[in-house]
Symmetry: D2
Subunit: 494 residues, 4 copies
């Protein structure tokens, strides 16, 4: 089944979700002005699966069921799937101008497939059964990884209240307590797939749990995170007319998960595999969606430059080129990471972990410069313009409209504001910084993955230093052969 | 008279200001949650004039009246005044964490003193009389320069509706029509001092007007500009507990200004002088307030690092040092520009225009990196945390407070959010970019002020190329003398 | 035939090349200390074709001859060839620490294959015959594109002396006059393949010529370009013990080229195709060799950090990670450009031109930062250390060796110096800047290749602006469908 | 006495210096092609003292002798002296395009004046007597601070051979053994003033020594450091026609220093004072000379842009403006540091240590970008052009001159090469990086000097967090006063 947007939204209405927004329980999230834009962004992932232009890209044939499924529930069975994922993400990023919230689930599914394969036995079988259901029902999965973590100097057992953990193992299932934060799109999902957010050590088995549950399971409570200017949503100054991102805190108050939905329970090596696999997949994902988001910002800046009458000014053209250059850099690095795919023995293909981290690490920097340049081109009015409601006011409206100049200018300014420091800046800037791991997380992986010895060996050899044990003897042999080439003695001894 | 904060706020209540906020006319701005924080920031400039710690810094002895006046109404009569201005701005920037709104008036007063001095005669005398009154009454002056400007490719006469201009000259005064935008603190002022925002050419005399009027003069209407998350002001998620910035659009609907308050009316050279003097003063001003604002952001990041338990992590310390380094860079450049003060024949001291532009140009870049680093240290929760109201909710509050960890963390996150992409980001980021001229404006001045010929001469000489006409013959003479030093023939011919 | 290094060097000895170095005619370049290091670097491309570790990577099966040929004479017949090229370049860049000089030929061959295919007829046939010979003899081809160009504001016919051009067409061939500059490895080649360096316009046919000739054809004179510290080559302070780069000026003094070796003669569209295809190929190539060169520099910095005792200092580790991150960025972008290969109807695969330019544009920036960080880690002694000869001096040597500390430190400092501002800085820094086109050349292509309209359309739609003609009507249809999803009326009308 | 350049060079000839260059003892350094350019640069400091244009700037009235002395031997007796120092350095930097080598001595003299003042008694008196002689004879003082230091993890007593130290205290004086590296201009000096290069701890008294001796004292041996392309000096490709920098290793083989020339011997606090004072002075000094050097590079780039016919191209103008902007940034920060002068009780004025470090820290970054942009504008020919000797060759010269285009282009390219990666790159790039302390040294000082608590206090207050002990109670009092202003109860209670 490939749901339509309408079927998707109706399925959300069928849930009995416990969701709070600014201290109020929300009855129907699908009509709440602070929630609906985020639902719309997810709905776009369903729409593209039916659109003739994108049907091929947005769906894939499942290896598990043989049916055509939404790509967001699909395993990376072919190297090509990694590249298509990125292209689909870019299309969606440009279509919605925000986060469409299904990537954590997709990357989590693939990671857990690998991890449970390594854990073996019942774990993997349960997971495959569950995944078949997800594909069949075309569900949105909230991949729930990040624990609150408290003091970064303490391990989970020292501060269990800051981690999701197993508090009881009963015949009918596990009982989970704690919280997950930064839950992208959680309130727009059908199921929560909890996973450990970091590698666990012996003695920390209770924190090494992966399991699935409906979003409205008893004991699950969600609280919507605030975004800058979120009160503008649904109003004239919203910026993005239709779409939005979403981050949620999920509280787990002794939630019972039946064993059939428990995929990891204390398997530490599999937990490490999971975390590393996810980091790779998800850091490359930013090479898809963020360039798409930046396309919108670049377009808005180009539009404003036109409205200001400076679109052909050399410094403006130069800034626009720079913005696009930086956006493409991220995309190119995502593609580069994907092009060096390797096949895990489970059958899932993985990205190059080094390049995936390189990609994400640039995502923590380059979009900030793109935003800075957009603010430069947009001009100060972006931050000093009265409400668009004022422009419609019977007394002051006409004069204000002269001040602002055109509807294009007014609305494009609001869009740039939205993406630079309005609600859209959370999916854009902050997600760029902290999504899939903060900058230092990438640097740690980079330091670990770089082959320093190989570089030092090359330097020693070229500096004319003697070989060390374990050195690149073959390279030195080549050196000698080359140094001797063409010399009289070489003719004799070659 | 040196007003107290209380006297200042009461003086605002005595006005009959026409101010709109989101389409509603505001009766008393001093109690409006969207306006009061900005009034508080201005009030701080009055408070410091009475505080024993800062009295010396915040006031000065007027050359006009002999009395002690607030520094914001003072002329830069001594070179030292330029440096003290910067230090006062830094103290206020750190005290309020936002824009305190009196600098445009101060820099405008000094610029107009110079310009009317050059225009001569009655112009200067009127201005001095007016300035004496301003000093005596310790008023807030809204320096109103920026016109909407419409299409940047067209001059004012081609699109007069986008500029403030004289539409009638009557025996009792001038009649002004049009608008001014980006009016910092206008709704918290006593008088508007309109000035031309750019050099005007022959035929554009109607746009070359400088004049003063009460903020509640008939025909003056103000509309408050929106800021990101401005609806949070006064609530638990405001970020900055007390202070705020303000930008206003002012509409002038045939406002009559008596001749006694008209300081320039078509004097084109004086208008150019005014614009250039103001650019110098105001671009250096950013070397005062912005480092002060950044102090707050750096402090908030350091506080959060402590709360996260990573304050001693080397990468965090490194980022904090970088942030402070960049903040001090701006301050150092402001001081550098001020240290090369030159005395205008009117008696006012001017900053070095080249270095003032260098200072401001960095302000369009470096604070963006400081903000980026603050967001890095702050962590993703800054953008995903529910409302502080949720933390007080009887049902979900306790669990959420565990998630967030501490009141320090929650409130410091809101403060970073405020300055990075909340209401405070307008004084911080956008003001950095566009206040006192957008980046390209500085580059144009830089290109004009750099002595290219001198650099090319030096290069030619050192490259061994022959002298050209108008060249540095003296430097070449030194070269020859040095080349010959210590040589036998040199002994003979020296 | 796959030549060995020895066979290659002997084949160079068999030429009667006219080569000047510092005003002296060189009899045997293969033993000249300023030339031999560059020959060694080319010899490495031959050595790898025989090394069991790299044989697969360094050779390919020719589509033209069916034989195994050196990859540097191979056509990109499969998408995979583009990726393998990059990987081979990286291995060679790390092995030699410099430019190995065969890439311009390889990229030129592929470009000319495409261009002559488009020109059609005899042009392509001649070229294929010639290429078969090149593959069979495993020759080094000097791809000669860049004309001196003189004043950049003038076209070739205004200053023909600054361009290579046809001065006569005779029955037995063309006569060429002029010069080519920046000729990488020319003195180490077997043939020169001249190609136009830019698109030509009607009336400029005499400058649109592609043709091949032996490097020792009558009328061909080469003059070696200087490199920083080139006089150190072959001595104790050389830095790179074995390898070097090479740039040559070639003077063409009425060189006759038989028609069989003329591949383009005034075919303007093919000339444009050639230039654009080459730019794509060659700009991606920098994603191969430069990361390899940087590996050496990074290795040298890591080695020095060890010697200084600061390898574990957090700021040093951070700098090393940054250096590697930037090197991998370039490599990842080269791979990204290659992963979007498209097949030209001639059968040759082309890289994505947008990403190839993004890749090269970063090459004009990032290696500079890597070098800066290397200089930071290396320490000032890199630039103040006496000659390594001094360290062997009987009187001062012992004390100096104590000062320097170790042979590792001394030699690694010389290597860093070599790559940062010695002879190796020309292949590294300057080649990064200007090779395959200076930065502005990439910006021009980027501006042309970016789909601005698509970005503006997305911005308009999301800003809530009405559709324009030619707009993305389908995207707007999706928007409407999504906005209506789940609503009562939607149920009715869907 | 104010020596002339001729008198200065002759005074050098009168020494019996032991100097090695590339393993050879040099008889008369003043005619050695590798040494003379550096002597010329020092001679410029003498020439300016006589030039009517700069006499005032280049000299000062001594507080010690009452006579007019060269500024390089002068104490910073007035705040203005700090600014004048910077301006003189900039003039010299532009005049010579390189390091003029007298600043370490000048900054060392001032630091030691302060340090010996604190040490008190005979130490200071001896130093003042010595300084009077230096001023009277107008000598060049080599300030010798940097020890080889060996492994950075070990203190001096663990590896004494890597530090200059007292090995004997005799009735007639101290005996010194060891070495100093990075000795700027040592071979062009009259006296060596050794000083400790870092703060010493109890037990390290033998390393805390400051003393003066003639450069030709028995036991002193100098070895010239290599510079890139140093063999070009004196030839056609030198780049800088007249001037050069110099770095020397000095070996001290049991050098006897009479007590009258010993200024510190184990006074640890004074040693710390010395090191910190010197760091401040010398880090600000880079705000003088380096902008002057960069002026030359910028001039050369502008000249080349003219020759290429692209001087008016917008991207070229933009790059030139950026280069100048960065150069002025450094100068502005040096001025800023100098404008906050404080008077030490000895009477010497000190720069602001925080801003001095900010200044120098930018010097380790910004000039690298200026060089990068210069290489961009210069074009690849800078690195591929044959020797200027080739251009004069009877056979190939004429054609090569056509290729190169003009003498302006050829020579300006060599000048850019000289400053970017020739001999001049050592004074420029490497000195920028490591002179007066490597980047990390500045970061350590910055971290120590920043008032973190003050920033955190401001953040806590504005975030609405309660006061802590030791907090800014006064600021909170102001907050309350401001919050209450204009409120009815305020009227009652004020």
């Amino acid at each position: 089944m490939l749901r339509t947007p309408d079927q998707y939204v109706r399925s959300l209405q069928a849930r009995s979700l416990v969701l709070y927004v600014d201290g109020e329980r929300v009855a129907d999230p699908t009509v709440h002005p602070r929630v609906r834009p985020a639902i719309n962004a997810v709905a776009a992932t369903y729409a593209l699966a039916h659109d003739p232009r994108t049907r091929e890209l947005a769906t894939a044939q499942s290896e598990l069921t043989g049916a055509r499924v939404n790509r967001f529930t699909h395993l990376f069975a072919q190297p090509e799937d990694l590249r298509r994922k990125l292209e689909l993400q870019r299309v969606l990023g440009r279509l919605t101008g925000t986060c469409f919230q299904r990537c954590v689930g997709m990357d989590g599914i693939n990671s857990l497939f690998i991890a449970t394969f390594e854990a073996g036995g019942e774990h993997h079988e349960r997971f495959v059964r569950w995944l078949r259901q997800v594909q069949r029902d075309d569900e949105v999965i909230d991949g729930a990884m990040t624990d609150p973590k408290g003091n970064r100097n303490q391990r989970p057992p020292q501060q269990p209240e800051h981690y999701l953990r197993v508090v009881e193992r009963r015949p009918d299932g596990l009982v989970l307590r704690g919280a997950k934060i930064h839950q992208t799109g959680a309130a727009n999902s059908h199921q929560i797939l909890v996973m450990p957010g970091m590698a666990m050590r012996p003695g920390e088995e209770d924190f090494a749990v992966a399991a699935a549950m409906p979003v409205d399971a008893p004991g699950v409570t969600m609280v919507l995170g605030r975004q800058p200017s979120d009160e503008r949503k649904g109003g004239p100054d919203a910026g993005n007319a239709l779409y939005g991102g979403q981050e949620v805190v999920i509280l787990f108050d002794d939630v019972l998960v039946p064993w059939e939905r428990v995929f990891l329970d204390g398997q530490l090596p599999a937990c490490t595999t999971l975390v590393e696999a996810f980091a790779g997949f998800h850091r490359a994902s930013y090479g898809g969606c963020k360039p798409g988001n930046l396309d919108v910002l670049i377009g808005a800046a180009a539009l404003l430059a036109d409205e200001h009458g400076v679109r052909r000014a050399s410094h403006v053209r130069d800034k626009l080129v720079e913005m696009a250059h930086l956006g493409e850099t991220i995309h190119g690095l995502g593609l580069g990471a994907s092009s060096k795919a390797t096949r895990h023995e489970s059958g899932v293909h993985q990205v190059d972990p080094l390049l995936a981290n390189v990609c994400k690490h640039h995502v923590t920097r380059l979009p900030y410069e793109v935003v800075r340049l957009a603010e430069d081109i947009a001009g100060g009015l972006m931050a000093t313009m009265p409400s668009l409601a004022d422009l419609e006011h019977p007394e002051i409206g006409p004069a204000l409209r002269t001040v602002v100049g055109s509807d294009e200018r007014a609305r494009a300014l609001r869009l740039v504001e939205y993406m630079s420091y309005g609600a859209g800046s959370v999916p854009l800037r902050i997600e760029c910084m902290h999504g899939a791991g903060s900058p230092q997380a990438q640097r740690i992986v980079l330091e670990r993955r770089i082959d320093w010895a190989r570089r030092v060996d090359a330097a020693r050899r070229l500096a004319g230093l003697p070989a060390r044990e374990g050195d690149d003897a073959d390279d030195r042999r080549l050196d000698h052969q080359i140094a001797a080439a063409g010399q009289p003695e070489a003719a004799a001894t070659k």
